[in-house]
Amino acid sequence: MKQITSTNDFVIKFANVNGSGSASANELFARSILRMGVPVAPRNIFPSNIQGLPTWYEVRVTENGYQGRRGGVDLMVAMNPQTWDADIKEIEEGGYLFYDNTKPLPQSKFRADINVIGMPLTEICNATYTDPRQRQLFKNIVYVGALSALLDMDPNEIERLFSEQYKGKEALLQSNVKALRLGRDYAQQHLGGPIGLKIKRADNVGNKIFIDGNSAAALGAVYGGATVCAWYPITPSSSLAEAFIRYCQKHRVDPANSKNKFAIVQAEDELASIGMVIGASWNGARAFTATSGPGISLMTEFIGLAYFAEIPAVIVDVQRGGPSTGMPTRTQQSDVIACAYASHGDTKHVLLFPEDPTECFEFTAKAFDLAERLQTPIFLMTDLDIGMNTRLCAPFQWDDKQAYDRGKIMTSAMLDSGRDFGRYLDVDGDGITYRTYPGTHATRGGYFTRGTTKNRYAGYSETGPDYIDNVQRLLRKFDTAKKLVPAPLLYPAERPARFGAIFYGSTSPAMQEALDVLASRGVHVNALRVRAFPFQDEINDFVASHPWVFVIEQNRDAQLKTLLVNEAKINPSRLLSVLHYDGTPITARFIVDQISQHAAARTVVPLKKVVS
């Protein structure tokens, strides 16, 4: 029978029951591979449930560091009878099945073209432990021990991780090491030693860090100077606010008096969360909220107020599958339009598209500068794939010399010097006006903030010219934003390319891999990663220099393409959509397949080239 053989390049998937303690064991497994210098890209695939439903953890071992999901499974660790049939089906031909054979299964439950490795995990644990909870929990560690033998891993790395994790908790450390050795010894004695899939020590991890995007964004908020966070629990964003709480407790408590340099409120709903953010920002604090699509829908009225009354706000949207409750534990990029135009009336918002946790950190910190400089809501458009999966990425960086950009603030001294203060008076021509913090000056600089139309001096107005003056200035301000938001990044092909590809956000790792694969097959594609809205002119130039441009997105309706056509005035016939929206993260295989098909259909030389 065929046996897949591969070193440092394969996919192993754990099929578990949620609430069984498998998550920490699986992550331990992934981390121990990293410690051997071999990059991994793990992903949680979990239900909207706390206990008893199927959950999966997929680890892509990838020596060349591709962080996208590959697709397909080379080794299935099948620990969940509920999903057995589907799990078996997913294994590649010649792949491996590792399962608990304590209870015999009929031959019909297996496939002839896969390699089956059974180990009596339940029996071993029942014989070793008396406590039912321990029997369950240590079963996970026992299979990690067995896998370490099967994949020829260095067990010392796992034991080192244990000793870091259980520092000072000797009993826990010993019992975990014992379970690990139990599994490893059994595998070595009874399962015939290493299989075709191997982990070999390498040096490809470098100084990279391993973190999820939600934690990274939360840390970005700490570094960016957020002092007020108001949030309402919603998957997949809750862990962001919770990480912010943890980081603040560690880094933002005044050592002199143990008081907090932060205020975090779990609000009664998303309407209140954004209301608190707007109130705090209006009053000069840096404030943010984290939510997902349904929360954005609820916040929309307030977001319109913040746009029109020009109040800073940072909103992290960890996107999931929608509409409605949709797929709350799956990933999509399907809030692009909802966020770009959130509100009734003519409205446009600044969006940032981070590709990974590194950019989640960087862009979140930057979002506070942008929000205060532009005096408008800034959306960080992350998603479940980035937010809730631990990712290997570049280390965070911070320049201590950089000061926060608090934007145009008219101070008491400026008011005293006789400066003309009009809250909505554009003195610099960039569409951005001066604001005062409440309480600044005894007699000057006070103004009334409202959602109704107003004149340049914040006076109530219902006249057409005042309205037009105001909304035209808001367009000027949006134009100014182009120069401040992160520019698109070009990934040029090594050879002249007829095709261009535009992508953004969590599609990035799969796209980078797809570009390599396509190049190796002779399809050369120039790629441009869009990192923000409003769109800069580089995007138009990029499209103009290619007959066809693919726009790769993780939604059904080609939302970024719509925005490109609408806002950058790009001819839609030049844009070819590649859309992935089943809730799983997009894969390089999918992109390669789609682009190859399009490319094959367009081997005809375009008319423009024939003529010239």
């Binding site: 100077g225 907090n260 209140a272 209006w282």
Partner: protein, 351 residues
């Protein structure tokens, strides 16, 4: 309502308070509400109370939602920052603003449509969190700006201007505030300035969520017979439990009263509330009895007014969150950013 501009020249001998301001310094723009509107009397009471408590006008943030009442912050404290936010959402904006700068006075003005219907959720959570603010509901039982629909505080059986009887049970904002943990709860009447001004002054000094429900008749849509929020009805059915003298600081009480008729409540900051009892049975520091008393009187069609409940040991959201004494909006990167060295340590812990 008037279109005449307010004169800006003041008489030089106008009395000044201890921070050097005349009463007129606390005024705002000319009201655009209907002549005789109860809300304008409340604005006047706010002006009086702020002047008498010697608050610097710019140290007040005025917040409101949407509706007639929510327009009023434009008509007082013209030098203060105001925020006319979203319908029913003033409490969340006030909460956020308060978190950003604990040093200002937060004055929330709302109506019964704003706070008892669309915003009842935010009202409830603002009370239970103990946001340090004065929360005034100008309660007239109707939607004025949209021309006379019943609001959620309209009494069951009360009639609209067109003679239609309201069939829904009313929401009692005072009862809710008490149940939700507000640490200062009062009810007053826009037509009784003597009662209202000291209540606002005491609410200003109170630490925590101070709620005042002010029955404020709508002359355009709810001042007819059959209404329970008309001037006539409230005057006839007003059941004041006490009259309040508010004394800032630890002033000695010198006036003599008959024994048993006066209670003094000393608040956390040393300010003294002197309550002249009108009902000798009423105890304004007993939350449960207050709830019971108000319900019983409401059942008899009476409008209980006065300082209904005060917790002298109250605390506020900042205390619960253990925030630093400096306003959060004044902290800079020096206090807030952990810096590059700490970040390198974090990086190392993630490998």
């Amino acid at each position: 309502m008037t279109y005449l501009a307010k004169p800006k020249l003041h008489h030089p001998d106008l009395p000044k308070n201890s921070v050097g301001h005349t009463r007129r310094d606390y005024e705002g723009r000319i009201s655009t509400l209907c002549a005789g509107c109860g809300h304008d009397s409340i604005s006047a009471a706010i002006i009086q109370a702020c002047w008498e408590t010697n608050i610097e006008p710019h140290k007040v943030a005025k917040l409101s939602g949407i509706g007639c009442s929510s327009k009023t912050p434009d008509y007082f404290l013209g030098n203060s920052h105001g925020f006319n936010s979203v319908h029913g959402r003033m409490p969340s904006v006030a909460t956020g603003a308060n978190l950003a700068n604990r040093d200002l006075l937060y004055l929330g003005v709302s109506g019964d449509g704003d706070s008892a219907s669309i915003g009842i959720g935010q009202f409830a959570h603002c009370m239970r969190r103990g946001v340090n603010m004065v929360y005034i509901v100008e309660n007239n039982g109707v939607y004025g700006l949209t021309k006379g629909q019943f609001s959620a505080t309209a009494d069951k059986g009360s009639k609209s201007k067109r003679g239609i009887a309201n069939s829904d049970e009313p929401i009692d904002m005072v009862g809710l505030a008490l149940q939700l943990g507000a640490s200062f709860v009062a009810r007053s009447f826009s037509g009784d300035k003597q009662q209202l001004v000291p209540l606002i002054k005491a609410a200003i000094e109170h630490k925590g969520a101070a709620f005042i429900d002010v029955v404020s008749p709508c002359v355009a849509f709810n001042n007819h017979s059959g209404s329970t929020k008309s001037y006539d009805y409230v005057r006839e059915h007003n059941e004041a439990v006490n009259r309040l003298d508010f004394i800032s600081g630890r002033d000695e009480i010198t006036t003599d009263y008959a024994p048993g008729t006066v209670t003094t409540v000393t608040q956390h900051d040393g300010s003294v509330l002197r309550l002249r009892k009108l009902d000798p049975e009423y105890d304004a520091t007993d939350r449960l009895k207050a709830m019971d008393y108000i319900q019983q009187h409401h059942a008899r069609g009476e409008v209980v007014t006065g300082l209904l409940y005060v917790d002298p040991e109250s605390s506020d959201l900042h205390e619960h969150l253990n925030t630093v004494d400096a306003p959060l909006n004044r902290l800079t990167e020096r206090e807030l950013c952990p810096g590059a060295v700490a970040l390198e340590k974090i990086n190392a812990s993630l490998r």
